[in-house]
């Protein structure tokens, strides 16, 4: 075996670690500056906008938001309702559709699957005009329903659920349920859904984050301030009111990021594993 000489090999290894650490810093530093500046006063930021040490203006920065359009708690509440609704519908009905594709032998099965593959790539933004006009006509603007109900048809989630079911479903379990006299719908709810728990957990995280971060559709549909979701609240920070309130802008951004950070670092193991799963879908 040809081994590369040891000294260049060591240098190479150092280069790798240094590069990785620099990239890690690159990922963290914008958020770190943001969090530190959230605690600094406007004057401090004006004299030097970079500091690694927090200051003590957190509460006075927070007071700036009082009586203005940016309200992170309203945004959090609205986003939470919409994302939870969309996530539940998405994972439940995607599992049901995937089960239909895997467990039953029906004539249009292959055609239906091909169709799901084909529409997987169609980006929703391109139908925004028709979608908006449709919702306007039935009086669903400023409603959560147009942001929740479309989650029932999530081609990408169906695709992953199908992959998972093919690997885990045994028709023996289904048949034993049938012998016990259980109906098909009952079998799905009581036997299949528990089997799919790992896939449901992964897909639920991604569905939730996608819905939480969605800005385009809510910004078109929601004009009532009390209905604003988190990303729309964030966009309020661009307004002129905050032009000179540097500390408050950083604090507002921090408040919108904190819940995501908490979720991410608690679930990072599953999230990374879930992303990796997306790659082996050949």
């Amino acid at each position: 075996m040809r081994h590369e000489t040891t000294i260049p090999q060591k240098i190479y290894k150092v280069i790798i670690y240094v590069s990785c650490i620099l990239l890690a810093i690159l990922s963290i530093i914008p958020f770190y500056i943001m969090i530190v500046n959230a605690t600094r006063g406007t004057y401090e930021i004006q004299s030097n906008a970079i500091s690694l040490i927090p200051s003590k203006f957190l509460s006075s920065n927070y007071k700036v938001f009082e009586g203005k359009s940016f309200n992170p708690f309203v945004g959090f509440y609205n986003s939470f309702i919409i994302s939870t609704g969309a996530t539940v519908l998405s994972v439940y009905f995607s599992s049901l559709t995937a089960y239909a594709l895997v467990a039953y032998n029906w004539k249009l099965r292959q055609a239906f699957f091909t169709f799901i593959m084909a529409v997987m790539m169609v980006p929703g933004q391109l139908l925004s005009v028709g979608f908006y006009q449709f919702m306007y006509r039935i009086g669903w603007t400023n409603s959560y329903l147009p942001l929740i109900l479309p989650a029932i048809a999530a081609p990408m989630t169906v695709f992953f659920m199908r992959q998972y079911l093919i690997g885990t479903l045994s028709l023996d379990i289904v048949n034993s349920g049938r012998i016990d006299g259980a109906g098909e719908f009952h079998i799905f709810n009581r036997i299949i859904l528990p089997i799919m728990k790992p896939a449901i957990a992964t897909q639920a995280i991604f569905a939730f984050v996608a819905s939480w971060n969605n800005y385009f559709m809510p910004s078109i549909l929601l004009t009532n301030k009390s209905k604003y979701t988190m990303p729309i609240m964030i966009s309020q920070l661009k307004g002129d009111i905050y032009k000179t309130e540097y500390g408050a802008v950083y604090l507002g951004l921090t408040l919108t990021v904190l819940p995501l950070f908490l979720v991410y670092f608690a679930l990072s193991k599953y999230i990374i594993a879930g992303v990796a799963l997306g790659g082996v879908k050949e």
Partner: protein
């Protein structure tokens, strides 16, 4: 009594109904509606009536001729390319480093978590965070440049078109290289390990193994990444919209931002926005279809080549055995 094997098939249809209904109502119908609006005179807020135009393609013609649309299309493609090439190169480099068996890199779990992190943060937050970082006159980047002595007084960095575009590209790159890297690594882990073992026995260097085994086997995954990234890139909206609202001087205006501005602000030109949406729809469909076709063609051609090679070597072996027999 239920008869087995016959009556169950209907549940396939029944369980697919919710998906199909939701798809028709919330995606297919809006798509058809958008298509129809693209051929009409429909504009202005609060109106619901419209009629077809005499010159049925007038909206499409005016969109294609619109300099802002042309510019937005160029910006979108340009900013996507500037983000994608370094993104895929860095992801490949990191994949090569992290999957090398001889050179075990510690802390991979930590690096993966940190590199992927920007991807789950709300794009709206990231866009405004970056515009705040580059703010004038008091922003961290200005402070940094001043304390390093590069500039004497703060400069309005974001008035520079190239820089503004570059930052949008950088944000996309920064948000997505971790994702691409994780996908590539899982792709490498899916390659038959015997291939790498055989290469090692044959005395191949890490570099040779990477270029001769890893890269060719990652081709499908790379194509998948390319297509999804291209489609995502052509729909780039949140970051350019909230970073500098498409500015300065339309430098970061993307196609999706153009459509949004046409339809949901100013004079509410729903018809023009629909026409632009359909044009983008066609472009996106052609891009992804072409890439998949090239991929399948290459795969098929390679298969045929391998088959021919196999047949040839079989014949050769046969001949040799016959000769040996003699």
């Amino acid at each position: 009594m239920r008869r087995k094997g016959v009556s169950y098939a209907k549940y396939g249809y029944i369980f697919s109904i919710p998906f199909v209904l939701a798809y028709i109502v919330f995606q297919l119908y809006p798509l058809l509606f958008t298509t129809i609006i693209g051929f009409t005179d429909f504009k202005g807020i609060g109106r619901t009536d419209f009629k077809f135009l005499e010159d049925i393609f007038a909206n499409f013609k005016s969109v294609i001729k619109n300099p802002s649309f042309q510019k937005s299309l160029g910006n979108t493609v340009g900013m996507w390319i500037v983000n994608f090439i370094p993104q895929i190169l860095l992801a490949l480099l990191l994949t090569a480093w992290f999957t090398n068996n001889r050179r075990k890199i510690k802390g991979q779990g930590f690096f993966k978590v940190v590199f992927y992190m920007p991807n789950i943060i709300t794009q709206a937050t990231i866009a405004i965070l970056f515009s705040t970082l580059f703010a004038y006159p008091t922003g961290p980047v200005n402070s940094l440049l001043q304390s390093l002595g590069f500039i004497d007084a703060p400069i309005y960095l974001l008035l520079n078109k190239t820089l503004a575009r570059g930052i949008v590209s950088f944000i996309q790159f920064w948000m997505w290289y971790g994702y691409t890297m994780i996908i590539f690594i899982s792709g490498v882990l899916g390659i038959n390990p015997e291939l790498f073992e055989a290469a090692e026995i044959d005395g191949a260097t890490s570099r040779q193994a990477f270029f001769k085994i890893t890269l060719p086997n990652l081709r499908t995954i790379m194509l998948f990444t390319l297509v999804t990234s291209l489609i995502g890139g052509l729909n780039m909206f949140d970051v350019p919209k909230l970073f500098q609202a498409g500015g300065p001087d339309n430098a970061t205006l993307t196609a999706a931002t153009f459509i949004y501005n046409q339809a949901f602000s100013g004079s509410y030109l729903y018809n023009r926005a629909s026409a632009a949406s359909l044009i983008m729809f066609v472009i996106i469909s052609i891009c992804s279809a072409t890439l998949f076709l090239i991929m399948y063609d290459r795969d098929a051609a390679k298969l045929r080549k391998q088959e021919r090679k196999l047949i040839k070597s079989l014949k050769k072996a046969e001949k040799e055995t016959r000769r040996m027999g003699k």
